[in-house]
Amino acid sequence: MIPAPFEYARPTTVDEALQAVAAGGEDVKIMAGGQSLIPVMRLRLAAPSTVVDLGRVAEMRGVREDGDALVIGAMTTHAEVLTDPLIAQHAKLIAEATETVADRQTRRRGTFGGALAHADPAGDLPAVALALDAEMVIAGPNGRRTVPASEFFVDYLTTALDEGEILVEIRVPKLAGEWGVRYEKFNRVAQAWSIVAVAAAVRRENGHIAEARIGLTNMGPTPLRASATEAALSGAAASADAVAAAARSAAEGTSPSSDLNAQADYREHLAQVLTRRAVAAAAGL
């Protein structure tokens, strides 16, 4: 299929990009890597009048340190994330999840920021950003603002980004202390989206689990935290039984959909099993 015609803008700075988005009117689409947008346009499920391509905005690319946080440019590709030494050192969970995104070619084009701003609940990175308490740095006509991940994902394919705004970078707090991580993805074929996935980061202290952060992929219209499990794990013994007991509440507060691959009750079950496995692996059990 061939997309419907559109006007094309290719800014090279964030300021130019904001201007292009403003000039594009209501029917503008911002394109990062295009790996979800282009298929949707080919199927003519989206027919924007203007596409603003961020591909040449160099300042939105790359990973740097800023004190206790990593700052990941929104246009950093998945492939770049995978080979970035700072990510390997401070945000291994992101690398682990990114490795499972689509396939090699798609990871060459697809971007970290694009995946978050697209906010597909079946996408792997939103739950990771949520679990890591990432912050979204958003540029708009009136300057920049920062939105925590917990407020960024609003609904199915909907974020806190307002009209005219662009997600420019993501601040990911470095994990301090002895953290283990695991992204446990469940799908039917290798390149498919997650049916359910669980992003877990666990900090152990003296044979106990001091803190656990658990993000759930595809358990509702937005990524979710498994808050009940997190609470149950806080201070729990680092044992298989304790983890299993805590994981039983992983689906609390979720509202998964039913589709070809899974009905809601099965997704709830998977969330529990995968949470148990992810936490156990992250805790080194």
Partner: protein, 164 residues
């Protein structure tokens, strides 16, 4: 219409394109690079894989305007009948193709994989080409071909030379 200029298989082309033109359609229809094919519309099959500035991408999921100024390599640019790329040669030797429709994309993805991982295990090859669908071969001979090419590219070309 937007002007785009790109170097494809060593030749520079400058054309006016509609922004909505997919790179693969530009390659096929404007430049006659019909060796690269389209197999789906959801970026699943990988038949359209080319190298964009040295990296494997699905050319059905890139607009031609995005490749403005870029270097594109297609299946037509990596070797010729008398001078095959080791991966092409290995696909032939190991019977890594039947109908051949997925083959250009498979070969381009495999070259990309080997650049990153020159000595992949069977599992690494299988995962490395997960973005390319083949309906004929059951993949086993493709996996063999990629591993065979890896061996040759790692410097066993002298042995082959002696045999030839």
């Amino acid at each position: 219409m937007t002007q785009v200029s790109m170097r494809v298989d060593g030749v520079t082309y400058t054309d006016e394109v509609e922004p909505r033109t997919l790179l693969v359609h530009h390659l096929r229809e404007a430049l006659g690079k019909v060796g690269t094919v389209v197999g789906c519309d959801t970026s699943n099959c990988g038949a359209c894989t080319v190298h964009l500035d040295g990296q494997a991408v699905k050319s059905c999921t890139v607009f031609a305007v995005q490749a403005d100024g870029a270097e594109v390599t297609t299946i037509e640019g990596i070797g010729s009948a008398g001078d095959l790329h080791p991966v092409q040669k290995a696909f032939h030797e190991m019977h890594g193709l039947q109908c051949g429709y997925c083959t250009p994309g498979m070969i381009m993805a495999s070259i990309d994989l080997l650049k990153e991982n020159p000595n992949p295990s069977e599992t690494e090859v299988r995962e490395g080409i997960e973005g390319n669908l083949c309906r004929c071969t059951g993949y086993q001979n493709i996996v063999r071909a990629v591993q065979q090419a890896a061996g040759e590219m790692a410097g066993r070309s002298d042995t082959l030379g002696a045999q030839a």
